[in-house]
């Protein structure tokens, strides 16, 4: 039982990272009707920026604090990069079919990753932090600190997003534009700023996710692949649902951890790497029961 709970906790930790990435996908999808496949590049770039900013701060400050400062700086810079991309490459495409825009984001993803990889080099770049692979004991469970850091970060992000969408001028405008663009325009909402803001927010979230991911093993050229695990998470949560992104991300993390731990003992015939495909299996199972995902709305809207 203890082991089981420890595995679940570990799954929630990595699930938090998926959830942050999934939130980015959903935020862009809700406002623009497009899935941005540039999110992996945003994540890679954000983590890389953190790996440069962290050491610059690290010596002077208590390291946990300097980690968060460097992540905040990276989130901000990645948001700016996302803004530039949206303005330069996506905005001119407004009105084109969603799949055309989605393919453009794939191109952007590749370009940005190639450029960023040049700043990473062949090995892994370390991100200074006090946790690494350290464990703590929590109510009798031994768990790596980094998983708790990820979970706490996700909780903070969810709280901020809740406040943002419920109470702020731009948050309300984004919700309005997601329901009915023309009606939002007649309220004086600039749909262009809504698009830009959603790209910036998604970029910042991807940067945070990438940095959390890099706590243990640093940043290498391959970590962007993790962002793809957020895809089954958003599908099973419901493409247009923020709650769905969080629940989907956490569920994928937990299932992956459970399968990774127990499948070898209980179902060895599934092969060695079944944990890797388990998010997709979970997605298929959920879609069989709920075709629009757990929280998704049936009528899918487009730009």
């Amino acid at each position: 039982m203890t082991q089981f709970l420890e595995v679940v906790l570990r799954g929630l930790g990595s699930g938090s990272i998926y959830a942050l990435l999934a939130l980015g996908f959903v935020i862009i999808y809700k406002s623009t009707g497009v899935i941005s496949f540039a999110q992996p590049a945003m994540m890679l770039t954000g983590a890389t920026i953190t790996s440069y900013v962290g050491p610059a701060l690290g010596v002077m400050l208590f390291t946990g604090f300097s980690f968060f400062v460097s992540v905040a700086v990276a989130a901000l810079l990645t948001a700016v990069l996302a803004l530039v991309i949206e303005r330069g490459a996506i905005r001119p495409m407004v009105g084109r079919p969603a799949f055309v825009v989605a393919i453009i984001t794939i191109g952007i993803d590749i370009v940005v990753r190639v450029v960023t990889s040049g700043f990473i080099g062949l090995g892994a770049r370390n991100i200074p932090n006090p946790w690494g692979l350290e464990r703590v004991e929590l109510a009798g469970l031994r768990v790596q600190e980094r998983h708790l850091v990820s979970l706490a970060t996700l909780a903070l992000v969810v709280a901020v997003l809740f406040w943002f969408y419920r109470y702020t001028r731009h948050g309300l405008a984004m919700r309005a534009a997601a329901f009915d663009q023309e009606a939002a325009l007649t309220q004086g909402v600039s749909v262009g700023s809504v698009f830009a803001l959603s790209w910036a927010m998604a970029g910042a979230l991807a940067a945070v996710a990438g940095s959390l991911l890099a706590i243990s093993a640093g940043v290498d050229r391959q970590i962007w692949i993790v962002a793809l695990v957020a895809l089954p998470a958003i599908i099973l949560g419901g493409l247009d649902s923020l709650e769905g992104a969080v629940v989907g991300g956490l569920a994928v993390g937990v299932v992956e951890a459970l399968v990774g731990t127990y499948q070898r003992d209980y179902a060895p015939w599934l092969g060695d790497n079944f944990a890797v495909v388990s998010p997709y299996v979970l997605m298929l199972l959920v879609l069989l029961a709920k075709p629009y995902g757990i929280f998704g709305t049936p009528e899918v809207r487009r730009v």
Binding site: R175, A183, T186
Partner: protein, 262 residues
């Protein structure tokens, strides 16, 4: 003064929806805009508020001016900031937001005066005040129409353009909307009222226009339109000399037909 001059509007580069329309909405007036389905009333409103773009439409000739400044190339949000607001046909409230959130979105360009304006709108529509935390999608059709109008009033517009606000509403509610339009106008907002319910519109308007296939075919003071034989026949369902009871049934019938075709 909000004006259109010789306005030609083309959709998709081929469909000519307006063929040289001119209208004037004076600073403090109520202007009625009548016309059958497809006459181009909604298109005219779109041209006035910058919404043609998202419908693949554009002003091909002529212009729209606000106090003699051209505004037909402005984005919708700038038009709103200049004090011209449109309430779309079919209410279009944000169904998943609650009543107050809808109003707050309406205040997007006027956040500093939001508290005062909320008070004002709740005074104008007490039923919205009672239901401020209710999800907008659960309001009745009439309440949603009030919410749509209230939402537009959240930025204290100088010109309010209403696209068929009484469509599909019960007579009691139609009366209600009529009173509200009068009250809004008394508060200093000019109103351009697009209506199928010509009786109601002409009973409160100062001036009226009738459109047909992209043209203005009648342009008269409202009282004169009420007495115009063509208007009586086509828009009030009256044949010259007939009494009012029959006409009422006919307009209702006409309205219902309109609802099906929409």
């Amino acid at each position: 003064m909000l004006s259109a001059r010789n306005l030609e509007v083309v959709y998709d580069d081929v469909v000519l929806a307006l063929r040289g329309v001119s209208i004037d909405v004076p600073e403090d007036g109520i202007v009625a805009l009548l016309g059958s389905n497809g006459a181009g009333k909604t298109t005219l409103l779109r041209a006035l508020t910058g919404l043609l773009d998202i419908h693949q439409g554009e002003v091909a000739k002529g212009r729209v001016t606000l106090d003699d400044q051209p505004i037909h190339r402005m984005s919708p949000e700038r038009v709103v900031r200049h004090g011209v607001r449109q309430v779309l046909e079919g209410r279009r409230v944000f169904v998943e937001l609650n009543v107050e959130e809808n109003l707050k979105v309406g205040a997007h360009t006027a956040r500093s005066r939001m508290a005062d304006n909320l008070e004002r709108v709740y005074a104008l529509f007490p039923v919205l005040g009672d239901r401020r935390a209710a999800t907008a999608g659960y309001l009745s059709g009439g309440e949603q129409q009030m919410l749509a109008i209230g939402r537009a009033m959240m930025s204290e517009p100088r010109y309010l353009l209403l696209d068929e606000p009484t469509l599909g509403l019960a007579p009691k509610m139609v009366e209600n909307i009529r009173d509200v339009v009068l009250e809004i106008n008394k508060g200093g907002t000019a109103v351009l009222l697009v209506e199928q319910n010509a009786t109601m519109a002409l009973s409160i308007a100062h001036h009226g226009y009738v459109m047909e296939t992209g043209r203005v075919v009648l342009d008269k003071p409202a009282a004169a339109l009420l007495n115009d034989d063509d208007v009586r026949e086509f828009y009030l369902g009256l044949h010259p000399g007939e009494d009012g009871r029959k006409s009422f049934r006919d307009t209702k019938h006409y309205r219902r037909k309109k609802r099906w075709s929409a």
